[in-house]
Subunit: 427 residues, 4 copies
């Protein structure tokens, strides 16, 4: 009677830890209410225009000319004044002091809107980078880079994936980070570095190979590289399903003998893998909850169109299997949300490293639910669903990219199955 | 930003009700531990032989000769002595005083074994019938029928589905229950009346039509019919995917001018629908949790065979997409379990009538997960999986039947979609 | 521009072979018409009673008492007199002189009925065994075994799968067939030997291991073993999803130092693999076409019930996604049929060994279509679909078994993918 | 024993029509060989650069500045000189005299490349428009519009779908085409008018409502509208999954009291529906075959990447379920191709109106196969698959759009199911 859920729970209870309570705390409920109000009052009314503006002022992939509509800075300022700011950060002073589980419902709410995460300074990859600096950064690093990030004054980039190797296997990584006197020298090429096209992007955290002879999890390092450093060449922005995601972008960047002082290393040489693991746990919760918020948004659009449009004398919802689809979408979203809560709870209880299978499970489940829901909604909207008149193709691109980013489905399925197998081997 | 989960939660919290805590209580954990031990020590060692015996002494569908192996009475006695008895009943004296959510993990444990539920006096349809009598029965009815059921001395039947109409639509029901002087008279035909073949089955609760002119939910009645009453003819047992489920069976039964005293009515004439609704909520949780326990059992069998059998030089688990299948099965089971906890919790908080969509959601999700897991496991076992050398075809029959019983998938999907639609209409 | 279809076609055309004409020939059309009439007039009217009789006279798995209803012999006689006999055999005198492609539509017609294939002496495994003897048997073997099989006077068995090893990998086979003086000696255990329970079963063709050191495809032999030979012990019949398939059965049989004269070897020692390959090609076409006939039968039942049964005021067909299901079932069946025609045509053109990928493709496609169609039809029928009141669970068992028998889906998928990969490697 | 395939075939044979021979004719084989050579020598070498050029010279959706790279005209000229021109047109003089079935394999070959169809003057919507003019146009219309289209000198547009109504139900159409003296006057709004952004687009065939009181299939008309006519306003190009498909585009266009002479009506007032039906049959074959060619292309990319990229020490193809995916993709493509051949053959035999179910079947099957294959291929490529470094997102957009264009999946499923149901009603 193998049952990871209970076995683990038994362990937790024995250690007198918190019970598996998925109800939002008072703090979560209050933040959630305020976020919803803020979004309704300030973001929703301008969102359609925002995206039109974005496409108008940033018509193509030439990031050198990308601009940010002024509304963004105003809304950020307003959100910050209201304390709807850095909610993702567990620190009570710098952030809101929320656990992963407490923050999860707030990430979902932000996921209803493609613009909202930045307004509340809760957007990837800055959140992950802030967490890295918060947990592993030196005092100087915190002052120079974490403080302005927390203030929303600058933006940052995370450089991990590489074009020339299967990056799903991190041991394939080729970019080198090697010490040379008081400096470290970076050589290599990264792509899908999200946010690299943003006018405010100031630095990247780069992961690379330091010592191929070291133990498997001590080969890599992470280093802070200011984007204006000599040898850093942003080569292009990559479209994801035709979306450049201006003014953020997903960039391809070359590092040619890029030299930064050793003080820019996060933790030390060889600590890259350890940092990455810690970074990815809560970040995947955020991604998945935003995906489920997006799925709720798409389902909402499905219901609206399904009631309003008439064909063959009936609302679309009443035709064929559409009501069955509604049921399956609702089941899919609700299941995935509860599973994500479970993973968040487990991260809070025992840390991301012991919650690998659960994190992988939601990383498979949530983006696939979103892709499925969006695909059905596009189908219901017909032509309108494929164009920019709805946010559906953008949401589709989010879902499709998320099935690849932060580890493709196949890698996560392998992790889940390995953990399952270990239950039998341990016995 | 429609979101049933939170909206409902907000309501609950406002009313100062219990939070959504899915961790097992101390009581649940202790019962669970003891159930697992009991099953390991007493049931698992004899189970394979039990099923062989059953097939030997009850070789075909002729229920008149069906016998119960003596081990069953012995194990029941033992379980009762240990207090592992009637755990499903919320009453603290007659049962274990557990909420639906507290009982759910225990139902899952029992679901690992096809025999276990009866041993702990927690098997359908007796559990549902006991609940009906507990909540709606008169003192006399309780004394005469509930007491021996609680003692495990007799068994009972629930007669709902009819062969001649689409019973998925309850308004189709044709069996009549009409008052005639001091009696009520029952006419009609029912089938798939589970447990009807059991030597100890003493009475049935029959649902029928009383007043076709009444308001939609006041047309039906429920009445207790002792099986030896004149006019009750058990016609045959029905195989489900070739399984007669001796010594329980699924029976077809005719009621020809069956006459019982009015005292046998449960609640009163016209109360049938109300009783049915209350009966089905917790019962569906039990079914679904047992189904998930069965799915865990099947996955366990998958892992074992997958490690032990070798083909093309490797364990089956390492071939093709089998590890991916493991991941998908694990995700499917864990998601459905959490969703079932959620539905159980909601029943406990606001009652089954206000948890219709959630109950329908798990009623779709859990049996489909079980069917999928069992189908994959059969495929891995090859010929052995199709025979009686494994419990897999029995588990398959359970899954397949459960997608039809207590409302087919289509009806539950319609309920979920209607509730979803109402969220938009209410606004 | 890799494209197996055209490339192969180009080859065929160059060799001036027949074109890919899927239209039934005049002979096929005429046989088809007569088969349909025969089934309508002679088989359909008695089929429901036949299955009831079968269950009555053969109530359980004890094959020693199994009987064949007298109607079977009468119908066989009638079919034989009408020349609807041995149509599967390409030989113009012994059979009907039909190519694989010409016979395919006739196999489909027979698949509408579970009884029909035997009536026309076209049932597995006798068809495969007759083909083996026809192509590889000695004159004596033909006289002794093929002649009475062709006459429908006896029945035969094919012993391949073994209980103790993953038989999906034929190199796992453990049963030994070794020469000893003028005899060969067989030791081992086989199961899922179809037809072994039949009162008329007289011999088995047994495949076993002769020389583990030989080249991979020359290790095995096939030998004719009369069932009354000393050392042959039929141990039991295996139920497939609860169905014993009396009076045929799927048997488990032990061979303990079974000794038969060398003349019983088919071809010679070490020729087993070669024979098996030839046997499986057309046989898989037959299986798949019968499966598609069964799927048509199930779809027909779906349409009938869907029109007749009313729920919520409408025929079931008009509810939810049922009409969409009809479309998907129709597409699935029609696609799989055309693919099976293609595989049959390719066998006729270049032989089974060069049509491996195509044969594997239909072996995956057709049984899965049947399982899906039957599962949906069961769902529409509700309780009736799970019982023996419809042939649906029998059809389900056929589909489920066929996904395992003659190579499980996984093995066939591996073959298809390997062939696809070779296209790239060859270049 | 309902079986549309055979029943229909019987009919055909009785009428002494051609048999169902799917082998390419000598003409097809020769054209196919020459097309492949042309594509290999002339198109493949420049295709990657062509798409980069297109994006460079047409960086956004502003069609007013769209340009066509000069290579296109050169290649068209070359193709025309070689007689690889207008192959789609059944007319032996103006086209190649090929039947629908004969042309189908050529459409597949062209589908391997996004550029190829135009080079051979076989691209939608011009092909459909040429067919309309060929079959229904007056001599003047042919001279003025068909001749330059056949010469590849101009391009054309087909205006059908409207933004404000569910266009899946053609009776919803609101654009009006009414007679006024010697003119017809067009008012309304159309979108997803493919090719509207092309610099060479000269006219549109517009479908609109003429007489709402007429019999259902006589309400609509089709009229030729030169794009420079007063009142025609091209408002914008619509992106499909982020792709503007420059220099073709999918346009939204307004018709404000647009006045053209009655001579511009195709056939007559009220003939729109009749023309549309004829137009859609072969066109859907072309679409589906191109989709299958694109699926072959994607599978080819899958195999290449799967062999070349290494992760976890093995080629991607050898990881997890990837080889199983190859098998399923191969089965899916081959099944859909054969089904499309069948539909093409039926169109040739009995006309599109009597092949509705078959045309609908492929219209569901082929684009879904393409979407599935492309989705898997994107997943294998990871980031590269989402960018413009591969043609995969363009192919995805083609698949996704095709599930909506020319009738969404739901409408085609409804057609198939209705035809299936009629088989039972007719009896």
């Amino acid at each position: 009677m193998t049952n990871a859920l209970y076995n683990h729970l038994n362990d937790c209870l024995k250690k007198a830890r918190k019970t598996m309570d998925f109800s939002p705390t008072e703090k979560t409920l209050e933040y959630r209410k305020r976020l919803i109000e803020f979004i309704k009052e300030n973001i929703e009314p301008i969102e359609a225009d925002y995206h039109k503006d974005i496409r108008r002022i940033n018509p193509d992939g030439d990031w050198r000319h990308w601009q940010v509509p002024p509304a963004v800075a105003e809304l950020k300022q307003k959100a910050r004044e209201q304390g709807l700011w850095n909610l993702f950060l567990p620190d009570a002073e710098l952030g809101a002091g929320l656990s992963t589980l407490e923050y999860a419902p707030l990430a979902e709410v932000m996921g209803h809107s493609l613009l909202a995460p930045e307004i509340f300074n809760c957007n990837a990859p800055d959140t992950g980078n802030m967490e890295v600096l918060y947990h592993f950064g030196s005092a100087e690093q915190k002052q120079q880079w974490l403080t302005p990030l927390l203030a929303g004054d600058i933006r940052s980039v995370f450089c991990m994936t590489e074009p020339d190797v299967a990056s799903s296997d991190a041991t394939n990584m080729q970019t080198s980070i090697v010490a040379d006197g008081d400096d470290v020298v970076i050589n290599g090429r990264k792509w899908w570095s999200t946010g690299l096209g943003h006018p405010d992007a100031k630095f990247a955290i780069v992961m690379g190979l330091t010592d191929v002879e070291a133990a498997k999890h001590q080969r890599h390092s992470m280093v802070i590289v200011p984007l204006e450093t000599a040898g850093v060449s942003v080569e292009r922005m990559l479209p994801a399903f035709g979306e450049y995601d201006a003014p953020y972008g997903h960039g391809e960047v070359r590092f040619d003998n890029v030299r930064v002082p050793k003080e820019n290393l996060i933790a030390g040489l060889g600590d890259g893998f350890k940092i990455a693991q810690g970074r990815l746990g809560p970040g995947r919760i955020h991604h998945c909850m935003r995906a489920l918020g997006a799925a709720e948004k798409a389902l909402q659009l499905y219901m609206q169109r399904g009631q309003e449009r008439i064909a063959f004398g009936r609302p679309l919802l009443q035709l064929g299997g559409n009501m069955e689809r509604v049921a399956d979408m609702r089941i899919g979203i609700d299941q995935a949300r509860l599973l994500t809560f479970f993973a968040a709870w487990k991260i809070d209880q025992v840390g991301a490293m012991k919650a690998l299978a659960e994190i992988s499970a939601i990383k498979v489940a949530a983006p696939n639910v979103l892709q499925q829901v969006v695909d059905e909604t596009i189908q219901l909207y017909g032509g309108a669903g494929m164009s920019h008149d709805t946010p559906l193709t953008q949401l589709f691109a989010v879902a499709r990219a998320l099935r690849i980013a932060d580890g493709p489905d196949a890698v996560h399925r392998a992790t889940i199955a390995k953990v399952e197998l270990n239950k039998y081997r341990e016995r």
